[in-house]
Subunit: 216 residues, 2 copies
Amino acid sequence: MRTLAQVTAEPVSRQERKQRTRQALLDAALELLAERAFANLSLREVTKRAGIVPTAFYRHFASMDELGVALVEESMRTLRRMIRSARSNPRTYTHIIRASVRTLHEHVRAHEDHFRFLTRERYSGSGPVQRAIAIELKLFSSDLAVDLARFEHLREWNTDDLHMMADLIVTAMLSTVVELIEARPRDEETDALIVKTAEKRLRLIFLGVPNWRVVR
Amino acid sequence: MRTLAQVTAEPVSRQERKQRTRQALLDAALELLAERAFANLSLREVTKRAGIVPTAFYRHFASMDELGVALVEESMRTLRRMIRSARSNPRTYTHIIRASVRTLHEHVRAHEDHFRFLTRERYSGSGPVQRAIAIELKLFSSDLAVDLARFEHLREWNTDDLHMMADLIVTAMLSTVVELIEARPRDEETDALIVKTAEKRLRLIFLGVPNWRVVR
DNA sequence: AGTTCCAGTGAACAGCTGTACACTAAACAG
DNA sequence: CTGTTTAGTGTACAGCTGTTCACTGGAACT
């Protein structure tokens, strides 16, 4: 029996086929992760849902940890797409804060599974997975710090303080992500409330900037 | 063989004895949680480390989830002790921010296991555990909101905004907890840096307050 | 056309998991 | 002193786990 291969009947190249089942594994894992944590997610379950036999797993990943890291990469691609989007059209809205929160909202709703995975495994999760997330998040924070340096009062801030502020913003945004994912009931009203609160948080942070004493 | 009972030889009441092994189970779990997540932590491992046979587990908890919830309660007692401490001696230091961050630092270092458990299982973790943490954290945040209302400009803020600010502070503090727990290398210098950054974060937030437009 | 490569198969394994069950012995109540 | 209660024991079992190994059939290369 060759379930997956037979159903997807069209003649395709070997590596294309491989890539396809690899993706099936990632998708299967992501679906299962909607209810469970990555930690108690077995290799057998994932392969079963992906439609292959357990042993075939090793043709794609050396271990579940490796699958986890691949999942981080995939999720991070989603995150980066979001960030680029937030950077490119800030002119569309009057306020940058509103624009950023809105793009966050859109992207989280469009890729809940990725964001759920990232926020859940950020602190729990296996060593490699946790590290991969931390690295990417730090990178993101650093980029944000550079962006911040172009603003009015922030031009004269030193690097440490800019990073401090960027970290705070990222932290606030991530807590918004969690709120959106865990939101109940799931309607526009709840979403609107979360978005509004997120905007307020950022506004409060930015309002502190003019009062910051640079020198120390 | 009755390992635990025999070693702790003194004649004690039955319920006292029960309470003792119950605590042994909680301690054993907490020790194991230093390296692994609660999700992949087996009943058998915990009982083994606690020095009792697997089946005896059920004399104390109906399931691992229940053990988890008990662990949340224990950890939360630690958290509450910290908060009371932070509230009681703010006069000792000139600034409230510095005082709060310092008590946080002290308590995290004194009870790393509890704080590690809370921060790790906050977003991953089984349903009941996650809910228990969320409830307690929300309670804490509400208390903080009440406290905030006594400050200069914050007196005239509405409840929603006060809660927004309290949540932001709690979020910032929790990220500080994670930084402390994950700190490497583990020396006073690193700790001092983390503490200083935490103080800056809070300062930035508070500096925004005077510029906040109350009405909306 | 013949050969190599390799993604996926299926059986088998040792080890661990949670839980049911009948038990013992010591603390307890009368 | 007698009978009851109960925390902890030991055996047992079915089910799941990751990983091994020899295998197959079709795409890819020569």
